[in-house]
Amino acid sequence: MSDKRFGTIETIQVIFQHPDTFFDLIQIMDERKELSIPEHDLLYRVEKAIRTAAPKEKKRIHLAFRTENLAGSGLMSIDKKAGVPHLYFDDSLIQLIRICDRSLRQDLTNAKLKARLSSLRELKRQIIESNLNSDNDDFLEACQAMSGELNSVIRLIHGNIRDLELDVSKRMEDISGAMALADEKLSVTQHYNLLGQITSIHQRHILPTLEFLNPSIKLRDGENLHETLEALGQAYRSHAHYELADQVDRSLISLNETYKPIQTIAKRVQDFVAKNQRALRQHNAMEEGFEELRNLITETQTSHLNRIQMHGDEFVEKTGFMSGLISRNYPSVLPLYDDPSSIRLLDSDLEARMEDAGRVNEAPELPTFTSERNDNGQERDRGKLLYDWVKGMTIPETNDLMRHLHERLHAFVGGYESMVDLMEAMSFVMNDKRRPINVRVINRFKTIEDDGRHMIYRLRRVSTISKEENHV
């Protein structure tokens, strides 16, 4: 039994079937900032994994995680530190496991980014010192290392932006939730502690990354990332290594693209930290309401395509604020009232129209516009015909003279064109000083639709002058 061993692939299979063991180990190493782990830590985790596993599986786990097996599969090496065996796992295995769990990813920190930058600088120096001769092995090796390093930098930053964004949003949510829930005012220390996590992310990760990517920053110890890559691209180009130069340019563009999103995150964090507890609560309340509106608007865009307006009843009732607020003008205007004055109005209106009907035989037929253009005399005739008809019309008391005239002319005058004839008729009425009426122009606009055309006009109100007044 003891000499039984798994192959490398099978060992790795078991490791990935029970990833928690290694997740834990990596976390411990990260916390201690060490690259190795004491043997007993591994044994303890394995024991834990075995306890919860199915009986058949127990044996497999035990076998796969045995120190001899792990070392024999080439997945780790052992070193004794102060008499205690320490295990150094293979770097690529650790990296692979890190990818599987977001929390284990190595963050962008100042030190790590600095190390990346100096190794890029070093590679650039090597490349330039090799005279960029494609026969030179040093040059080829350095080029390969350079593209590998560039890709890993891009991967690191891209991967971390997403994590950073999620992480920052999550933390902001947690913090604002905790603050909003606090019954009384938070003490300064509590407030500080809550914000501490997020400010440390800002200080340790966001700012260094911004600095790393900033094309215009001046560094004390040499070129910045942008300058390094640009110089490298130029060197490649001047030695006719165009493909390599293009690759460098692409990387540069890719890195520049990440600058903005990180800036956005940084701004969000700064704004967030600046808020106090009260503002946070307000902020969340407003967001909540806004989210409800977003849902309402999505409804109009997805499930009801023929609907443009949001349906807000539920939204309104949530707070009940201003619910039922008057939205119609009061009193609503009805055409008929059961009182003497409105009956008198109706009566006089009808009477005037009856008069029109009574002289229907005299109703003019206005010449069409085409004939008018041919003969100048006819134009005057047209005006004259209309004038004669309007002169005989009785104008009763009305609230809207324009519509009143329009309706009556439309009914009796042949060839009537509202846009021209109505204007003319109106000016006849307005200028006729002998009529016993008062016309008041009111600063309100109305529209008449005729034959698909709309005319906007000012309201004119007519009141009759009583006989006594007329005499005076």
Partner: protein
């Protein structure tokens, strides 16, 4: 002889008519209104009229089919239709008001400012704030879907005409107490609901 005094005797008909006109136009009547000449809040006579004979007006409007609503926290009156029934338009104006106010509040909170500054004459909404809201596509889309075809400018005029914001200068506005009240109600509502939620979670984990 009858000597029966009614509520009508103690109210100046002109003032009463003025107040009614405002209420019927869907306005809120706040205790104070902004006077641009004095650059300060001054007493609102319509409010005084309504407040002095509150019971009289309440009953009179009730007879007309309206409810006179008084808010004692922020001191304002408004009039609502009594019968809801199946009137589709019952909450139409309320919705417009709420959407416009919420967008102002959301914008303001997002920019990291305390909402109380919205009613401060020294701060309020300024030209650049208004421009920023106008330029935001999402706000514009929402306002259009809430019957403000012309976008935020129309919404501001709507709110101003109805007493939810006061115009304090050229392109400068503050929220009236009625406008502020809505943002406060939403904030309190959020606080209450999130506390309930937290207690529910706590209760669930306790019982486990």
């Amino acid at each position: 002889m009858f000597d029966q005094r009614t509520g009508f005797d103690s109210v100046d008909p002109e003032r009463s008519a003025e107040a009614f006109r405002e209420l019927a136009a869907g306005k809120v009547i706040t205790r104070e209104k902004f006077d641009q000449i004095h650059n300060d809040l001054v007493e609102n006579p319509s409010y005084t009229t309504l407040f002095r004979s509150h019971e009289h007006f309440r009953r009179m409007y009730q007879h007309l089919g309206y409810e006179l609503v008084f808010n004692d926290k922020r001191h304002f009156f408004f009039m609502r239709e009594l019968s809801q029934g199946d009137d589709k338009d019952y909450n139409r104006n309320a919705f417009k008001v709420q959407v416009a106010l919420l967008i102002i509040g959301r914008y303001f909170a997002q920019s990291g400012r305390d909402l109380q500054y919205l009613e401060s004459v020294a701060v309020g909404l300024r030209e650049d704030d208004i421009q920023a809201i106008i330029k935001d596509d999402e706000y514009t889309m929402m306002l259009r879907s809430a019957e403000f075809k012309e976008g935020f400018e129309a919404a501001l005029i709507f709110l101003r005409n109805r007493g939810f914001v006061f115009e304090t200068g050229v392109n400068r506005y503050i929220l009236s107490p009625a406008g502020m009240h809505f943002l406060e109600v939403r904030t309190e509502g959020y606080q209450a609901s999130s506390r309930e939620e937290a207690e529910a979670i706590k209760g669930a984990s306790d019982s486990e």
